[in-house]
């Protein structure tokens, strides 16, 4: 009988079918390895079984179990569903939420081996990463994110009821367009506490309703008698906190014509963006961590005879397809697979710690031969983000194995040039170039609010610091500027300035709001 199996053979399960007892037993076995043997520190977990349809549901709203409503999520759902039904794409095996307790979804269609793999991957790998990585600790609040999302959902539903779908949709559209520029990239003194947000919301609204903004005073100041309609740039910038790169934050605080609820909607979108910001910066590490953890755990389960050879083969099949990295001339190539890169670097670190070569000793003097694999991994997981992680830990040997090379594509030249390859003289350049791909500050255009024409037509001035001559995509930018203008209530201009030479490369002339948001 099934429940005697474990007692007789030590196997957690046999065959593809899963049930709750087996899932629980597998979870407990994984936990023993992960926590007792590896010393991981994940959040407590909550495993939720969902159907494929619910997986699609979760996909479409940023993977969150509850989210406010917006047509764009419906659009994503429609497309994902279409692709899935046609067999173009498969579904992810798992979704995991950075919350406490850590929510980990497993799909009912999967086999018991896949469920085991997913739990090891998500409930221990990702969860440990969420809990220990510096960026997450600083920027996200796992304790209260679900409460906050619940608040956001209700708040926006209330707004829809009170002000109409169309009005809310306009604000959300605009806010979503600015979402990539709605994050603080540098730490502020106080970490976020979303729970306090809830309480402060009402207080803030009361305060705003009872106070008025001094920003727009253009009458001559009676005390001094001087005309304040032409304050100098410095004073104005100080007063408005300029330059400001968090566009949503700026609008929330200073846009003159927004109603309180509209500011709150901007705030919700901004906080959600901030919550996801660390995930964008740690894709490689996060997946690398989870993949290494599931690999270690599954191997250990097999070694100790808790899963069958067949199950282990099934796991290896799934694992190798997850960490598969096609070469650049392969038709399947679509960029570097973060799972492959993260897993590759971590496995390589393991080798460097346990069996270093002379080259490793030269490149990594402080960890080569230390034999402390888990300690090295944990430090890496805690202290780095993708960019610094690659810059620090990508070894010459891995670059050789992957045959990485860096190509310089300057549109002024008539051909691309191979800048560096995987040889002694090129390792550092290749590594630097790869790392910079994962530097979001470099990847996303650097756009800041620089000034407001307070005295004149109140138009808002933005500046894009152009790096490497890469200008904005004009069609998209004009649309975003329109959204921005609608929120601001007055015209918006954008200048593209070359960061090196301070030369103005391009100007988007005043984009006027096409409707007042109010």
């Amino acid at each position: 009988m099934a429940h005697d199996l474990g007692a007789d053979t030590g196997l957690l399960y046999d065959g593809p079918d899963w049930d709750y007892r087996r899932v629980r037993r597998a979870f407990d076995a994984i936990e023993r390895i992960a926590v007792d043997e590896m010393g991981l520190e994940p959040y407590p977990s909550q495993v939720e079984v969902i159907s494929s349809e619910q997986m699609l549901d979760a996909y479409s709203s940023m993977g969150m179990p509850l989210f406010y409503r917006h047509w764009s999520f419906g659009k994503h759902f429609a497309r994902d569903e279409m692709l899935y039904r046609k067999g173009v794409t498969g579904l992810a095996y798992e979704i995991v939420i950075n919350s406490n307790p850590c929510l980990c979804y497993i799909m009912e269609e999967n086999t018991m081996t896949m469920q085991t793999l997913v739990m090891a991957h998500a409930a221990f790998g990702h969860s440990h990463f969420f809990r220990n990585n510096q960026l997450f600790r600083e920027w996200t609040d796992a304790e209260s994110i679900l409460d906050y999302l619940d608040f956001a959902k209700r708040y926006i539903a209330d707004c829809e009821e009170r002000y109409g779908h169309a009005a809310v949709e306009r604000v959300l559209d605009a806010a979503h367009a600015l979402m990539t520029h709605g994050v603080h990239r540098y730490p502020r003194p106080r970490p976020l506490n979303l729970k306090r947000e809830l309480e402060r919301e009402r207080e803030r609204q009361r305060f705003q309703e009872s106070s008025f903004s001094d920003l727009w005073r253009t009458l001559p100041d009676r005390d001094t008698g001087e005309d304040r309609s032409d304050p100098d740039l410095d004073a104005r910038q100080t007063r408005l906190g300029l330059p400001e790169e968090n566009l949503l934050y700026f609008l929330e605080k200073h846009a003159p014509r927004l109603a309180p609820w509209q500011r709150e909607v901007l705030r919700i979108v901004r906080l959600v963006a901030q919550y996801f910001y660390p995930q964008k910066q740690t894709k490689v590490m996060n997946e690398g961590c989870a993949t290494s953890v599931h690999y270690a755990i599954m191997t250990r389960l097999h070694e100790t005879g808790q899963i069958t050879d067949g199950a282990f083969m099934e796991f290896l099949h799934a694992h190798t397809s997850v960490v598969f990295q096609p070469e650049f001339d392969d038709p399947r190539y679509s960029g570097i697979n973060p799972y492959a890169l993260g897993f590759g670097i971590l496995k390589d670190l393991e080798r460097i710690c346990t069996a270093p070569t002379a080259e490793d000793r030269r490149w990594f003097p402080d960890i080569a031969g230390s034999r402390d694999v888990l300690g090295t991994w944990k430090t890496a997981w805690a202290e780095y983000r993708d960019e610094s992680f690659i810059l620090q830990f990508l070894s010459p040997r891995l670059m050789r194995e992957w045959r990485l090379f860096s190509v310089l594509d300057d549109t002024d030249a008539d051909a691309m040039e191979v800048e560096a390859i995987h040889d002694e003289s090129g390792f550092r350049a290749v590594r630097r170039a790869l790392a910079s791909h994962y530097d979001l500050a470099r990847h996303e255009p650097d756009i800041q609010v620089v000034d407001v024409d307070l005295a004149g037509d109140r138009h808002l001035m933005l500046e894009h610091r152009v790096v490497d001559g890469r200008r904005l995509e004009p069609g998209n930018s004009r649309m975003v500027l329109r959204h921005l203008a609608n929120l601001w209530g007055y015209p918006v201009t954008l200048a593209e300035v070359d960061a090196a030479s301070e030369r103005v490369l391009n100007r988007y002339e005043a984009v006027a709001p096409d409707h007042a948001v109010t």
Binding site: Q46, F73, G74, E444, R470, E473, N476
Partner: protein, 429 residues
Amino acid sequence: MVNIIDRRLNPKDKSLANRQRFVRRAKRQILDAVRDVSARRRIADVGQQGEESIRIPADGLQEPSFRKGDGAGVRRHVVPGNKEYQAGDRIPRPDGGEGGSGPGGGSPDGEGEDEFQFSISRDEFLDLFFENLELPDLARTQLSRVEQEGVRRAGYSVSGSPATLNLTRTMRRSLSRRLALHRPRREEILELDREIDRLERSGRDPERLRELVRERERLSRRSRLIPYIDPIDLRFNRFVPTPRPISQAVMFCLMDVSGSMTEDMKDLAKRFFMLLYLFLERRYRHVEIVFIRHTHIAQEVDEETFFYSRETGGTLVSPALDEMDRVIRERYSPEDWNIYAAQASDGDNTPQDNPAVIERMDRTILPVCRHFAYIEVSGERGRGGVTDLWMVYERIARSGRPLAMRRVRRRGEIFPVFRDLFTPVERRG
């Protein structure tokens, strides 16, 4: 201790609200696409599939964001799989950008596409198609008059005929009653019987045997007292009679196929018929179509012949009406069928025939029709002026009969005309 929670039973359509918002947002584009799809189909095929895959242009559906363009600038790509390159080699720029795109290249979620493809369900398709349309008021009043008696499930009752006994309910009540009153189970009694039997055979322990026999008697008395199924357990399905409108309709398509009707005009007519069919299909469980073509003679034909075969001859309308009358009398009794008719013509009729047309319409056709729609197609050129048939029908329509008439020149007018015909008066702007 880990929590394992089954969420599969949670309500499924969590994203339904998002989908509705999306469909509302994309309504104009979806409507265009839907009309496009319908133009290519046979009448009865349109909207027949469970799902309709449509492509809509993405304008108004983009989610823009500030991002770097593909134009000028310096990029570095780091890619795996070097085979022959050395530092300093020059590589011609690939056209598609396939080989050289690094992690930054390409858009991971396919943003920026010109077209967006997705499926809408049949209901969504038709909802959009016929938004705000109603059967004409006149037809509706008649509709409510001609009703059939039907029965409808309405919960459960404690009495009824054996045929309507609801086993599940009854057994559930019986089970709970038996449990509550501790009716001995059959297995218990059998077990006891076996025990008694064994003791009797062995002849040992007569004390225990007597005790068991007493117990056995107690149990069988109890099971007699507490019946397996008691009359109070019985539950019957309850049915109530409800008036039910006739749920089948027949649609007559009448078309003039004489030489003066060009292919263009026929195409216009076909589109109109198609819309009418879909519309009726939304409201009736079963819809049949009868095609009647006419020149100076009329005959019932199949769809293929109706639209694509050529005929020559003069133009008389009354034979078509006679033919329709014949078919109604033979197969579609007005008692059982809702009868709709749509006639398409270029308006030609031999003047001598006009009195006959009026007579047929007044006497036989209009009294049995829920709605009679006449569209006059006149091709791109349009002949201005009022045609014979138009004048005749106008006179009939003035007398308050269920006859609606419109002129159509271009394809684009079909849908508006259709909407116009079926938009309730109070909603016309």
